[in-house]
Symmetry: C2
Subunit: 152 residues, 2 copies
Amino acid sequence: MNTCNFCIKTTEKGKWMLTENKSWTVYLSDEQDYIGRCILILKRHCGCLSELTDNEWMDLKNLIVKLEQCFKSILGAELCNWSCLLNSFYKKPLPNPHLHLHVRPRYKKPFNLNGVEYIDEEFAHHYKLKKRNQVGEEELEKIFNILKKGLE
Amino acid sequence: MNTCNFCIKTTEKGKWMLTENKSWTVYLSDEQDYIGRCILILKRHCGCLSELTDNEWMDLKNLIVKLEQCFKSILGAELCNWSCLLNSFYKKPLPNPHLHLHVRPRYKKPFNLNGVEYIDEEFAHHYKLKKRNQVGEEELEKIFNILKKGLE
């Protein structure tokens, strides 16, 4: 068994952890290709969606409701792109996937942070792969604080 | 209110419908960028994940289990990429989104159909955007029949 970085992330409750419930931990992604992008990590080591328990599945729903509402009301997002891919784990000869989901809020109108406008140039289209991070550490912290407060 | 093509698809039970339950209809996608790609359409007109009822959410889980098991055991997929994006609806001035999910089975080993090998060249990486359809109508029908039988 390889050491699992995702197991570590759910136990250490690191700096960028936004919220959690019984089954899931939510981190603000350091890759802010779309403002507010988060990662939802299952607290149990489990490799695919179909192995979730009913309780874990319901806990995921509650989190989706909470996050989607926050992205729309606080950040002004129009919709959210949700994905559960897990591809990178399969680069290893012995894949040891840990279930997680990505959410990218998508914006029709520019997101304004302290007078700087962030434009979702691909709005109404698939999120761009390998899009560069839109923010520095300082802005990341501001977005984190806005979301943290919104999710309270 | 615009006419909703997704509402029509869930009521007409068209040629490529693979399976259904109380809340969802599953179609084999005509875009077989990855062999077995399907679309899961909510039977009720609803615009985002967070507006699903608990019953619809549990019905989605049951379908994910059924499909993921089938893709792995029947098609030989290694994992599945799940996504709920809804971007295209927002191209219209008055978006009228209808909730649906995409699933792309991903393959470590080539998928063999009647002696022809289909290779997932991006395995362990994000699915390729605008990847061309890998099959013609005849192969689509064969994949449909394999999955239809596997899902019975």
